[in-house]
């Protein structure tokens, strides 16, 4: 989730007007706005409850995987601005995932807790989905600057690497939910695999670059 990129996205960004966050919010309004419009016009199809459930799950996973992109973008491409969106992307992933679960609990199952408990206990894909959301909870809670300070950056960073595990579980949850056509889960898996591989790459680059600039590295 959100890691302050060595100060670049933290204090330095504050105070000045930034276009990134409003732009991100506007972009995120598109899938949610579309859901509302589709809901009002019949665009959610014959089974709107299932359709909303699926779309919320899709976007939760999409935001989560996207939240892992800014760090490699900064390290490999030297593009800094995506890092300022990392925290928001992570929080969006958490809240969309929470909405996904709440929709299942409150709308799809209408708070039938006995059946929900049985569902989670009996069906591995449900248990993995729950684990994904529970894993994101501490990351969402500790996403504030205050929590970074309280934990210390090193420990905070280690904790937030759980985002990779959560994303992997999210992909598994999606793949197990699908009956036969695994194209979308595979696309998410490929994106996540690429991002993870890119995170492991820069070590070599950094070592080479180390003699030239030690100061300012995250």
């Amino acid at each position: 989730m959100a890691a302050p990129g060595g100060g670049a996205g933290g204090a330095g960004a504050r105070g000045r007007r930034r276009w990134e966050r409003p732009a991100l919010l506007a972009a995120c309004a598109v899938p949610f706005g579309k859901m509302v419009v589709d809901g009002a016009t019949g665009g959610l199809g014959a089974n709107p409850i299932e359709q909303v459930q699926d779309r919320l799950g899709f976007w939760a996973l999409a935001f989560l995987v996207l939240s892992l992109a800014p760090t490699p973008a900064q390290r490999l491409l030297g593009v800094a601005w995506p890092v300022r969106l990392r925290r928001q992307l992570g929080l969006l992933a958490f809240f969309t995932g929470l909405a996904h679960f709440s929709w299942y609990l409150g709308v799809d199952q209408f708070f039938d807790l006995r059946l929900v408990a049985a569902d989670v206990a009996k069906r591995p894909f449900m248990a993995v989905g729950m684990a994904t959301l529970l894993l994101l909870l501490p990351l969402a809670v500790t996403s504030t600057d205050r929590w970074v300070a309280r934990l210390g950056f090193r420990r905070w960073k280690a904790l937030h690497r759980l985002a990779y595990l959560a994303a992997a579980l999210g992909v598994v949850h999606f793949a197990w939910r699908v009956k036969a056509d695994e194209r979308q889960p595979l696309a998410f898996a490929a994106a996540l695999g690429t991002l993870l591989a890119l995170r492991l790459l820069p070590r070599r680059g950094r070592r080479r670059a180390a003699p030239r600039s030690v100061v300012g590295q995250p």
């Binding site: 016009t41 909303v52 036969a180």
Partner: protein, 313 residues
Amino acid sequence: MARWRTDEPEGAVTDERLWLARREFLRLGAAGALGLALPRPSAADDGPTGAVLPVTRRVDLAGGERPTPWGAITTYNNFYELGTDKEDPARNAGGLRPRPWTLTVDGEVHRPLTLDVDELIRRFGLEERIYRMRCVEAWSMVIPWVGFPLAALVRLAEPTSRARFVAFRTLLDPGQLPGQRRAVLDWPYVEGLRIDEAVHPLALLAVGLYGRVLPGQDGAPIRLVVPWKYGFKGAKSIVRVSFVERQPPTSWSRLAPSEYGFYGNVNPAVDHPRWSQARERRIGEFFRRPTLPFNGYGEVAPLYAGLDPRSLY
């Protein structure tokens, strides 16, 4: 249909849409006022279309429940040969050519047949049967099928004493069924019934819906309907019916034997690994309702006397 569309003046289409949008807006406003602004099912339901079929008899076997709207039955389909999203089949059915269509009946029969589907319709006559349809994904519909009993075809073919099962095969033609270009399932789609299931009076070969010719996305021109089984048993766009001695392979149980069996009988007590089968959502309704054994068609129970019901999922 396609000709009608091009002949339609553009203005008329826009008016219709505006009218629907306004109607929808008013409905939404009213619902919102009541605090009930829940997502609505498809609004673009202009009612049944297509050629009218001659129906001689109507039987309601869904306990008087109102049939699911035409728009839902024709836009929410599991027909992977036309795409894996529910809306795909309606979008991709245009390439399917359901006429002329020949059905081959072969195997352990005294009278192997190759018949045009319209010839079959003339020979057997058509009746409307309103059935509940329960999908293994825990949703359901009430569907006014038009067709003839599968038993009529079985009688015509005169199976030999060795025929114990009936195997159904869907058309294999990636040109007409573009979903077959990807190996999501092992094409062609195959399904099967025990011969005593096949001759049960409830087993139907459907050629229509709401009194009209069956649309492509629903399995045109001829499909199997077995109302006490999950929907995946209902092979669509059938080209071959074979009478065989041994239990034939079936597509979904071949893909995931632990999830789908040969029988596929609706059973609320036997869960699917992905869905609880205890309840179902009738398309168009908010609350789930309890699923009934054999989808409420308990009269078929004697077919399975002495068999462990847990093996019949």
